[in-house]
Amino acid sequence: MTPPPDINQYKELARRYGLGSTPESVSRLTQLVARQDSDVDEIVRVIEKDPGLSARLLRVANPHAENEADYSVDSVEAALMRNGIGCALLLAMGTPLSLALIKTFQTMLSLKLEAVDRNQFDVLTGLHMRGSIGFVGKVVGHVYLRMSIPAAKTVAAGILGIAPDEVGGNDELSDVIGELSNIMTGNFKSNLCDAGLDCKLQPPKVGLSEDYSTPVEPGGGIERLAFRAGDLLIFVEVTANPWNE
């Protein structure tokens, strides 16, 4: 039998290797969500202490609202009552995912990517580049990464250190977007596993697509995120359903 993880040993290794850590509020939230018998009041307290998490939960709980004035669900508690704990799980996943995406753009493209309100931007239409990664285990779901073809070329060129017109065919484009999807997803998977929601990632599926549907697992939820750096727009969707056992 595998011995239980040694927290102190891990902290020492994390220090030695220079590993980053997930924000405390997100780690705590993930641990609470991972327990099927967790106290909803405690989850509410953790989310309410973090204005970013609260705002995102309300956005998830009001999927059709164009702005805060249109919210029919206007408190963290009401959002959790209406949408269930799965909503909180999406927050727990979306934060490390967003941080990883922003860090990747900063580190590998020297671009300052910022999270933006998805409703303020025209959603992609027509053929676009789509990467998706599924995860299975105690939590199941998918992460979708979408961008226009010119945006994908800009991203690929930046990561590979070449000019956009030097980017090869769809294979090269797909490999870069697939790796970007891997980096995003790997970071939040670590957070889920640390909280006891063990899951495995499936290989990324990347290609040109006209399909904008985002299937949601039965009983699960979806969070839609958008990011911008200048003219570059990146769309991300996360679907998840915990306790798949």
């Binding site: 040993q9 590979l160 891997n182 790997g186 970071n187 998977k189 957070n191 990632l201």
Partner: protein, 137 residues
């Protein structure tokens, strides 16, 4: 003699980035797309350093690392894990197997070079001699 560095990753993008990072240095880059191929290249070339991904098809990085450490001829080759996953159990398991260092994606070239420099001596390539300039006529 140039050192040999083996990059094992299923992503060609990452292998390109790793190769680009070491380009200014006297080293020969070797590549493999999964752990199985990585073991073959490692046994044949005896690299001085292995940069190893975790999640790969056919054979993952943890299995390759385990097999490297079981092989008397290969077990002393330093390995740096290069992965997007830094989960507690992953890190502890890999550390117990005897990995030299761990780098989480996304990463900067400088970070990779710094960690590699702790395992092998990196020597800058001599600047190429300037092309002779034709005298003006």
């Amino acid at each position: 003699m140039a050192i040999k560095i083996l990059s094992v990753d299923d992503s060609r993008t990452i292998r390109l980035i790793v190769g680009k990072a070491f380009k200014p240095y006297e080293c020969t880059m070797l590549e493999a797309g999964n752990g199985e191929e990585g073991l073959v290249v490692a046994a044949r070339e005896k690299p001085d350093l292995i940069i190893l991904d975790v999640t790969m098809p056919v054979m993952d990085g943890v299995t390759m690392l385990t097999k490297l450490k079981e092989d008397a001829e290969l077990k002393t080759i330093p390995v740096i894990m290069l992965t997007a996953e830094s989960g507690r159990e992953n890190v502890l398991q890999i550390a117990r197997l005897g990995v030299r260092d761990y780098l989480v994606k996304p990463f900067k070239e400088d970070q990779l070079l710094e960690k590699a420099g702790r395992c092998v001596t990196l020597v800058k390539r001599a600047a190429a001699p300037a092309a002779p300039v034709a005298p003006a006529t």
